[in-house]
């Protein structure tokens, strides 16, 4: 089962001491004299069309990486128009580099929260774009991000939208999300029907349904509340947890439908 590694003895012929390496180097020299594997960077780039096809491997040039270059995780692109302000990118960021800041929406002229990314902290893991339910935060192939000031590395939503408008190749990998049993459940006795969850739900999938007001038994005091209860439409829910975080009574929780 074990392959003993070859054990060559050093050649006794003094000419051969240096001949083989020198011949190898000369062969490389002859090869690279015609075509060295260097990419003249600011003028040629790996994502150039000429590297998209399969470039001959003989010169050590990249091997058709261009064809799959689009997978590269570089700077984000944000489509502000479709962003639903669900916070999922900020939640999923392991480096806490995403902050939700308010920007005016182009159509409604109202402020809405969109991610602002600090590229001095981002580790380009792609968790945010994986988590984005609407596909509005994607990663592009742009990678050059040098700045002379630290503040230049913080990309506001507008700047990310600028990147989006450049129509760079987007990362095409859309994850097929495995099923998961999590859903928003309601701890009904705690609910006061305040409508906060329905108001803040980014996908508008929570509707407040009327519940019958119970007739109080003699001596029993009814809780002061609005007689409505949230109902979550599971197929529309992106499971961002905004409702949970805004709930004043902490009556919504993650759970499994049984």
């Amino acid at each position: 089962m074990s392959a003993a590694a070859p054990k060559e003895k050093p050649s006794t012929n003094p000419i051969l001491w240096v001949a083989r390496p020198m011949a190898t180097a000369a062969r490389q020299f002859a090869k690279s004299l015609i075509r060295p594997s260097t990419i003249v960077y600011p003028f040629e780039r790996l994502e150039d069309p000429k590297f998209r096809e399969e470039v001959a491997v003989a010169a050590g040039k990249p091997l058709g990486v261009g064809a799959v270059w689009d997978n590269y995780r570089g700077v984000h692109a944000l489509n502000i128009a479709t962003c639903i302000s669900c916070n999922l990118c900020a939640f999923s960021c392991p480096d806490v580099c995403i902050q939700m800041v308010a920007v005016p929406d182009a159509q409604t002229k109202r402020l809405k929260k969109c991610p602002e990314i600090d590229y001095g902290k981002c580790s380009y893991c792609g968790f945010c774009s994986d988590a984005c339910p609407e596909g509005c935060l994607t990663m592009t192939t742009r990678y050059e991000l040098s700045a002379t000031k630290r503040a230049d590395m913080i990309y506001s939503p507008e700047k990310l939208y600028e990147v989006f408008q450049r129509k760079l190749p987007m990362n095409p990998i859309r994850l097929e999300r495995p099923k998961n049993e999590d859903a928003i459940l309601l701890d009904a006795p705690l609910c006061i029907g305040c409508n906060a969850c329905a108001r803040d739900c980014p996908t508008q999938c929570i509707t407040m349904l009327d519940i019958p007001k119970p007739t109080p038994k003699p001596g029993e005091k009814l809780p002061r509340r609005i007689w409505k209860e949230p109902v979550v439409n599971d197929s529309d829910c992106v499971r961002c947890g905004t409702c949970i975080s805004v709930c004043p009574k902490e009556c919504l929780f993650w759970g499994t439908h049984t």
Binding site: T38, R45, P49, V75, G120, S123, S146, A147, R166
Partner: protein, 205 residues
């Protein structure tokens, strides 16, 4: 000029272009033939010399005369310190590898800080190594520059909450250029070096 474009003569888009007009210069641009590239870079010397001559005529100042030439020399021969800290050091090495070949720009790593003028902090700086980094920086003779390569050097990166990590090397030494990326691609590193060259081009001291 937007943050991504390298300060090279060809690839810069119009400065005043609005967001929607900016096209990625690279993908559409046809590959520049080899000879033209070389000619292009070599033409840089002539503007530098011309600038020197004009300023000599205008101001008759010796410092004004030689500064553009020395700036030209300084930016075309940056010797970074051969020092690998962490992950970015591997990309740093890859940039000196065959594919990207940073030596094209005259960037040759030297092992002794005395012979360097560029400290590329390529990785996480811990408090244990902080004073050694400062020593190395101080051992480098003026004029010298510092590039914070990667997120760890920029701001501690994913490790900035850790108990042992300096949250950014700019707390220790003055940083001229930050390169984002985790780790930055070798191209991004070269882009940072080109940006530094752009800084040196207009240096007045």
């Amino acid at each position: 000029m937007s943050a991504s474009t390298p300060p090279s003569p060809t690839a810069a888009p119009a400065a005043g272009a609005t967001a929607s007009e900016i096209e990625l210069p690279v993908i559409q641009a046809p590959a520049v033939p080899f000879v033209e590239i070389e000619a292009l870079r070599s033409r840089e010397f002539i503007p530098a010399a011309k600038e020197a001559l004009t300023s000599m005529i205008q101001e008759q100042g010796q410092a004004k005369l030689i500064r553009p030439v020395f700036n030209w020399a300084g930016r075309n021969s940056l010797f970074p310190l051969h020092w690998g800290l962490a992950c970015c050091a591997i990309e740093f090495a890859a940039a000196f590898g065959a594919r990207w070949d940073a030596e094209r720009f005259g960037v040759v790593p030297r092992s002794s800080p005395r012979q360097c003028d560029l400290l590329i902090v390529n990785g996480t700086v811990t408090w244990k190594v902080a004073h050694k980094l400062i020593t190395l920086y101080e051992q480098m003779p003026e004029p010298k520059w510092v590039i914070a390569m990667g997120n760890c050097a920029t701001g501690g990166g994913p490790f900035r909450t850790a108990y042992s990590v300096v949250p950014g090397v700019d707390k220790l030494v003055p940083v001229d250029v930050y390169i984002a990326g985790c780790p930055p691609r070798p191209e991004a590193m070269l882009d940072g070096i080109l940006r530094l060259e752009d800084l040196i081009r207009t240096r007045k001291e």
